[in-house]
Symmetry: C2
Subunit: 244 residues, 2 copies
């Protein structure tokens, strides 16, 4: 069952941890992006037969993904993303730098081609999705973005609304990642996730020619028992072969 | 890779079939629900640094899920759904009745407690999500809904916008399923899915106290090689035990 009291770990019986932030009216969003409004437009309490809501938000709201089309003219839409990008083994790497992800901190982690990497930064020490916009969140420096592109990472994720900084490395970082066809997950809540190896499932809405879309992302620790077994490794073996 | 030409099977290298319909402006929706509007509000073609869109739609748009709160006063929101409801083994059952799912057609399938059942009906013979609203879609009769509740199905899915009919068995079917805590997936595209056993992943957006939310749903056939192996069966064993 999911957490039913605040602060309780959102871990299900099968071990899934919810790394997605809740969507609600008025929640934080990127400054020039649309606000989030969720309104009950049919309401049982007002005599309607059912509860139905209107959802209005930007395509880069809460936990979401970026398609190349977000920053690349004529790039792929999110509806063209292969599921291998976000279903399979992922590594959660803790970032200690309080400003940004930098190549020097990444190198010892020996990131390999085809890896899915999620950065757990200082952002995850606060419930940022319940606060106002934070300008000094930890982002991926443009140097680190180019490093990740050179390492041929498949997918990367970060625990605030953008991989690029605020008024700093925004376009550069996005372009370095998206031009390298790296799939990007933003707005993760990694507060309940320790660094290590996980099984990742992240599914974005199928928005036609989407520059991005809200997504649900969940993680499950890979136990010794499951290590090296299917179906994770089948997908990963196919993926590896396809990238050579 | 996902399909890049219409009509091509949306099957990825790892065998995932996308059972979600694309979201686009003006697409079909339930008559009294909000329209779907997706507009590029920042546009590289117009000189902006990035492409960003505004998404506006009802909570029961396209491929989506219903929470008990949709029809049950004070019921659970979709953000309280356990992931076991939509991750694990599922059975796709073909329905031949051109009007509705009825108990007589269900009985021979021997639905057991804890099962995830997706109904592939006549609805899947057309690309309904590209057409205007269809009044005579195949729905789940209220008798079948009560039968599924009695069998203690865990989750059911259907290949049109509602489990209930148009002006017929709408409230009754929803209430019978949702009051029995059956999780409901609607708006599936099962045109590329043969009846049989599958691995299902369906993740809805995490809308706080959501009566429903758009979702992404994917299926993968369970091969003989994978049959009976983890991680599917671990989740299912735990689930089974928890329901006794």
């Amino acid at each position: 069952m999911l957490a039913d009291e605040p602060g309780k770990i959102a871990k299900t019986k099968a071990g899934w941890i919810d790394a997605s932030v809740p969507l609600r009216t008025g929640m934080v969003h990127w400054p020039d992006n649309p606000p989030v409004r969720i309104e009950r437009m049919l309401d049982i309490e007002h005599g309607d037969a059912a509860n139905v809501s209107t959802l209005s938000m930007g395509s880069h709201t809460g936990t979401h993904m970026d398609a190349p089309l977000h920053f690349v003219r004529g790039g792929k839409g999110l509806d063209e993303m292969p599921f291998e990008a976000t279903i399979g083994r992922a590594r959660v790497i803790e970032i200690h730098d309080p400003e940004s992800v930098k190549p020097d901190e990444l190198r010892p982690h020996r990131i390999r081609g085809g890896e899915r990497i999620l950065f757990k930064t200082r952002n995850s020490t606060r419930r940022w999705y319940e606060e106002a916009f934070i300008e000094d969140f930890v982002y991926v420096s443009q140097e680190a973005a180019r490093y990740l592109a050179a390492q041929e990472a498949l997918t990367i994720g970060i625990d605030y609304l953008s991989v690029g900084g605020f008024l700093r490395d925004g376009a550069e970082t996005h372009q370095a990642l998206l031009e390298a066809s790296i799939w990007v997950i933003e707005g993760l809540d990694l507060s309940q996730v320790e660094p290590g190896e996980y099984e990742l499932i992240c599914l974005p809405l199928k928005v036609e020619r989407g520059d991005g879309a809200p997504a649900r992302a969940i993680l499950r620790a890979i136990s010794k028992f499951e290590e090296g077994r299917i179906p994770l490794t089948i997908a990963d073996r196919i993926l590896k072969a396809s990238r050579r």
